[in-house]
């Protein structure tokens, strides 16, 4: 059994989980919701084993390093952290339906990684041979995943306000009856960002520390650094907006969506459209 096979199983499992969640949305059958969650957890378990196995395989190849060294490995880790945070929200706050809006992000990541990228294990180039790699990548991606979850929740918020706004009457049943109340969605959005923001801060600081250690400059306005700061500014604005009248609710939800769009650009857009220090070892081919 190889890690690559297990990653394929993971992708398939997330696909099934997403479909079951969609069926849950349509049917409102509680046991489908439970099934969706459990399938997602099964996928998470398989993926955990796969990541550990890939780590071991790199040592067997004599180029041992944590599986976080190129675009493929980072996407896989990103998907893993998204499902991990979904599990946290599901277990802690019991709002299972969030899965229908969060699992697709993880599936998208895995599908793209498995189908569109070079999956080979590569040795570490000199620039990445540092323990900072691990701290930097883990903190950044946990932060990104929290923002992904917040974005999914904000989309739910915006859908709910849009539909409730048009159908005027109080009985905006159907699809929406499963959605948590607006106040709860707003709160969950805030909570997710409360997890993401400290992690992003740590990610930026560990990145700066590493840059200073490796190049003698903790901040050089490299596009990646700048975009991470842009993301930080957007979420800092979000946190301050919440204590300002007129920014709660819809505007906060939009800020969260914009924040995640900026996050995705910081993660992928910078590599695809701009040049800089984070080439991910040319992972996508």
């Amino acid at each position: 059994m190889t890690s690559s096979m297990l990653f394929n199983v993971t992708t398939f499992t997330y696909l099934i989980s997403m479909l079951v969640f969609f069926a849950f949305l349509a049917s409102k059958n509680k046991s489908l919701g439970l099934a969706g969650s459990f399938i997602a957890y099964a996928g998470l378990a398989v993926q955990t084993v796969a990541i550990a196995l890939r780590w071991k395989e790199s040592y067997d190849m004599g180029v041992g390093h944590a599986p976080m060294s190129n675009l493929y490995e980072s996407i896989v880790f990103f998907s893993w952290t998204i499902i991990l945070l979904f599990a946290y929200i599901d277990i802690r706050y019991k709002y299972r339906i969030v899965g229908a809006f969060v699992v697709p992000f993880a599936l998208l990541g895995m599908a793209w990684a498995q189908l569109g990228m070079n999956t080979g294990i590569e040795p570490l180039v000199p620039a990445l041979q540092s323990n900072w790699l691990l701290y930097h990548v883990i903190t950044c991606f946990l932060g990104y995943a929290a923002f992904a979850v917040a974005c999914g929740i904000s989309i739910m918020y915006l859908i709910k306000t849009a539909i409730e706004g048009t159908s005027s009457s109080a009985s905006a049943g159907g699809l929406l009856s499963l959605f948590p109340p607006l106040k709860v969605l707003d709160d969950l959005n805030y909570r997710s960002i409360m997890i993401g923001f400290p992690l992003l801060t740590l990610g930026i600081i560990t990145g700066a520390a590493w840059a200073n250690y490796a190049w003698g400059t903790y901040w050089s306005w490299d596009p990646k650094e700048t975009w991470s700061l842009i993301v930080w500014f957007v979420y800092a604005a979000f946190l301050h907006a919440r204590i300002t009248k007129g920014w709660v609710g819809k505007r906060a939800a939009w800020l969260s969506v914009i924040g995640f769009a900026a996050t995705i650009f910081c993660y992928l857009g910078v590599n695809l459209f701009l040049s800089g220090l984070h080439s991910y070892g040319g992972g996508s081919k």
């Binding site: 000199p126 041979q129 003698g216 700048t226 500014f233 800092a236």
Partner: protein, 454 residues
């Protein structure tokens, strides 16, 4: 007149204290920062200058877009941001200190009704005994209460981690500390670059603006090595450096290995492995020529691009040489040279002569076997040179920021009041953050509270 002055100052003050300004600044900083990630920064590449219209080029340069993070308007935004941070803190901190040092000891009717967390207990004993019992209970289960008598009722007030309300201000302060560290670095620090040829030493380096800057000591490059993985990807760039003072090696700084991610620091100046290359001095390459029929090999020294003539009239030219052939000839490693051999009266032949593969060399050529022995040309190492006395201030700021965020996001100021009057006691709870967790704690407390016998 006095009143308009007054109101003008108040207006300015309110402007700098306002949260709307904060939001405006954060969003402006985010939006304007995008410019510098899309346009090239610093020295413009000629291709870029060629493709952009002169008018655009002029407007962009005037607006400082090509060094936007140091442009007057971006720096101004950062200054206003700092002023905003300082003003907000000056305005709000006294309230927060008062909140912590002078807590609401007496819980009025209005607040009582506003708290969702409450629990009632009836008892038959005297009020004083109730106060004593409940005070001991709070002291044991939560924190020691302050007892105040008011209108015949006793108010027991206990709180935990009131200071965590300061977390936000620690975060704001940490941003200023980081700015101060950055300013120290830009005033008292410097960055530069130096190249050292193997076997030679330098006592100065080239600063950012191209000026020559003295080191105050010498750095000798003993050796430079590159290692590759089997795939051809680079594995390690390694300079072996020795620091010299008055021409003598400094103890502990002799033969120091400097690789990417492992710099060397001496007297506050740090050297980072950055690039490498072949020095132009020396530059002789050694080619061996062996008759296939046997006999002693002849060693010939040539320079790149130069043609040499052998005894039998055959000529050969060294086209290029490398000390690591892997990138050009997958599956092979080590030094190699590409040579063009012309036998008398026949067309020129081009092939690669290796140092490590005599068998492969033997398969080429006709009557003569060509091999490559390496070069006398030296390599140089390129090192980034930096000194930044402000960096520790920056790390202090970062540490403060992490601690501040931890406190502000994950700790909450928890307060419990127990109002005791004849026959019953009512307990109220409030937390500044994470209501769900506090609710559980309050319910736990309520259960024990309910079992108290007075």
């Amino acid at each position: 007149m006095a009143t308009t002055d007054r109101s003008f100052i108040t207006n300015v003050w309110d402007f700098f204290c306002s949260l709307k300004l904060t939001l405006f600044l954060l969003i402006s900083l985010a939006l304007t920062s995008i410019i510098g990630t899309v346009l090239p920064q610093g020295a413009l590449p000629p291709e870029y200058v060629a493709q952009i219209s002169p008018a655009k080029l002029q407007i962009y340069s005037k607006l400082g877009f090509f060094d936007m993070y140091h442009s007057w308007w971006f720096i101004t935004l950062l200054y206003i941001f700092s002023l905003n941070l300082i003003s907000c803190s000056i305005k709000r901190l006294p309230h927060v200190f008062k909140y912590i040092s002078e807590p609401t000891l007496i819980l009025g009717e209005g607040l009582r009704n506003s708290f969702p967390l409450k629990k009632e207990l009836s008892f038959s004993g005297p009020v004083e005994k109730g106060v004593e019992r409940l005070s001991a209970f709070l002291g044991k289960e939560f924190s020691t209460p302050v007892i105040t008598e008011h209108n015949g009722e006793y108010h027991l007030f206990a709180q935990k981690t009131a200071w965590c309300r300061l977390g936000v201000y620690v975060v704001h302060f940490s941003i200023l500390v980081i700015f101060i560290g950055a300013i120290i670095g830009s005033l008292a620090g410097y960055k530069g670059f130096v190249t050292i040829v193997e076997g030679t030493s330098v006592n100065s380096f080239e600063g950012r603006n191209g000026q020559n800057m003295p080191l105050g000591f010498e750095v000798l490059c003993e050796k430079f090595n590159v290692e590759f993985y089997a795939t051809g990807a680079p594995k390690e760039f390694r300079s072996t450096l020795t620091v010299l003072e008055n021409g003598k090696p400094v103890p502990g700084y002799s033969q120091v290995k400097v690789i990417v991610n492992e710099p060397m620091t001496y007297k506050g100046i740090t050297f980072y492995q950055s690039s490498y290359g072949q020095a132009s001095e020396g530059g002789e390459h050694y080619i061996t020529v062996t008759p296939r029929s046997g006999g002693t090999p002849e060693k010939i020294a040539v320079r790149e691009g130069v043609t040499a003539t052998l005894k039998d009239g055959t000529t050969f030219k060294l086209l290029e040489a490398t000390q690591e052939v892997r990138a050009f000839a997958p599956g092979f490693s080590g030094p190699a040279a590409r040579i063009e051999v012309t036998r008398k009266g026949s067309a020129p032949q081009t092939f690669i002569a290796f140092k490590n593969y005599p068998d492969v060399n033997a398969q080429r050529g006709d009557a003569l076997i060509f091999g490559y022995e390496g070069t006398s040309a030296k390599q140089y190492t390129g090192l980034q040179v930096a000194k930044d006395p402000g960096v520790w201030v920056v790390w202090l700021g970062c540490a403060l920021m992490v601690i501040g965020i931890g406190v502000a996001f994950f700790m909450s100021h928890k307060r419990i009041w127990v109002v005791v009057s004849k026959g019953h006691a009512r307990m109220y709870g409030n937390a500044s953050k994470n209501q769900a967790a506090f609710q559980m704690q309050f319910e736990d407390l309520s259960e024990k509270f309910h079992e108290i016998k007075i």
